[in-house]
């Protein structure tokens, strides 16, 4: 029987100035449409329904991007027999954001069975996004049967090795990592020595004040190893990132939002645009969670990320696909 686990929100007790009460209150709302903004080490939380009241300057970020994940194009079973429709709804949601994202990050499981038509459909739908540029990392569903060859041809033209890559936007350094290849029996996600060596080198020349965003499919922290929700050799990668003042790790794979802060590193996982999965240990297996139709959209979502120069960390806002949640409190899931 899988053991019951509490929310995986671990708090760093290094007296780094983060207000714990505010942080926990914020986390209680996470996933229902909350803006969490870090200012001088203090985390402030704002419900999306009151955003209009806030000083626009507070929300104006210098860089805005959105993360979507786990579109699983080709999946056609309960609880979602039309994942194309919910992906379109996610794109609509992104297009309706107050501050248009400059680009999108897709943290993998673009397709469900690595079929060409599945990738094609996602590409087609994403063309409707206001942000024309999309950066990808593969999920394990994107590299089935060919060790990621098709994925690389489609999305990894300017990437290294198995598809890892980095780029800069408005002074923020982005790193896309691949942890879904060369998986071993009984194992977790893996980065591998070649990628780790590349990462160490890629980060070398950056000043510690450069904000870094790392995105990869499988979580880089141990969310729930029993279900494969973790990366075997992520500790080494995190070691290279430790010196930076602000690191944000964006992952997918688990089809639910979760957040953890460790020193200067904020880990965040996104909802899927296709189907939800159970919380760690709350089901026999991490398969698709069947929910009543009216509840589905409250458990799918997008993530909006804003960076304002001078602020300690990026502001990460999750919002569900439920109709009308763009400016209202979602009645969606509470963990």
């Amino acid at each position: 029987m899988p053991e019951q686990k509490k929310d995986e929100i671990l708090y760093d007790h290094n007296h780094d100035g983060i207000d714990r009460r505010g942080f926990l209150k914020c986390m209680a709302w996470a996933g229902t449409g909350t803006l969490c903004v870090m200012k001088g080490g203090i985390l402030n939380s704002y419900s999306l329904s009151h955003l209009d009241e806030l000083d626009a300057a507070e929300l104006k970020g210098e860089l805005s991007f959105a993360q979507i994940s786990d579109s699983h194009m080709g999946f056609n079973k309960p609880a979602n027999t039309d994942v194309a429709r919910t992906l379109k709804a996610a794109v609509d949601k992104i297009n309706a954001l107050k501050k248009h994202p400059e680009f999108l990050l897709h943290t993998g499981d673009i397709s469900h069975l690595s079929k060409p038509e599945e990738f094609d459909t996602v590409d087609q739908i994403l063309k409707g996004a206001v942000a024309k540029q999309v950066f990808f990392v593969p999920g394990e569903h994107d590299t089935i049967g060919d060790d990621g060859k098709q994925y690389l041809e489609r999305y990894g033209k300017s990437a290294q090795g198995d598809g890892w890559h980095s780029f800069d936007a408005k002074g923020v350094h982005f790193v896309g990592l691949v942890n879904v290849l060369n998986l071993k029996a009984g194992g977790l996600g893996t980065l591998g020595p070649a990628q780790l060596a590349w990462l160490e080198n890629d980060l070398k020349g950056l000043t510690t004040s450069t904000p870094v965003v790392v995105f990869a499919h499988i979580p880089l922290w141990s969310v729930y190893p029993e279900w494969g929700w973790g990366t075997e050799d992520s500790a080494q990668a995190l070691g290279y990132l430790k010196r930076f003042g602000s690191v944000t790790v964006l992952n997918g794979h688990i089809h639910q939002t979760m957040q953890k802060v460790e020193g200067n590193i904020t880990f965040h996982t996104a909802s899927s645009t296709a189907f939800p999965q159970p919380q760690p240990g709350k089901a026999d297996s991490p398969g698709p969670m069947k929910v009543p139709a009216e509840q589905l959209r409250s458990l799918l979502g997008i993530t909006d990320v804003n960076f304002k120069r001078g602020k300690h960390a990026l502001a990460i806002v999750d919002s569900s696909l439920q109709e009308g949640t763009s400016s209202a409190e979602s009645s969606g899931q509470n963990y």
Binding site: H112, E140, H141, I144, A185, G186, G187, W227, S285, G287
Partner: protein, 118 residues
Amino acid sequence: MKPATKMAVVVCAVAMMLAIALLSFANPAPQKTMGNPSQVKIDNFTFTPNALTVPVGTTVQWVNRDDIPHTVVSDDKTTFKSKAMDTDENFSYTFSKPGTYSYFCSIHPKMTGKVVVE
């Protein structure tokens, strides 16, 4: 043989038989599936039976009853390697050599199983 020795041999033999019986009771031979004896069902991210014993020359069939695709790949990644099986699809492999074949799902590597070929 002296009567005492004969007795000793008999006692030893009985003891051994008892031990073997107890051992096999405590560690039952890997289960075979009811119905088709050389079929492995995949459901809920699990291979059932997890350990399957078959005679040399058997064709084992894996059937995916889960609502998520899975694969069957031998640990060495070369002996056998299925395509992705969606729900109700299957994969077969004929074991022509004895041995223990551990395998896993390459999409969800935490899923493991083995086939023992005798």
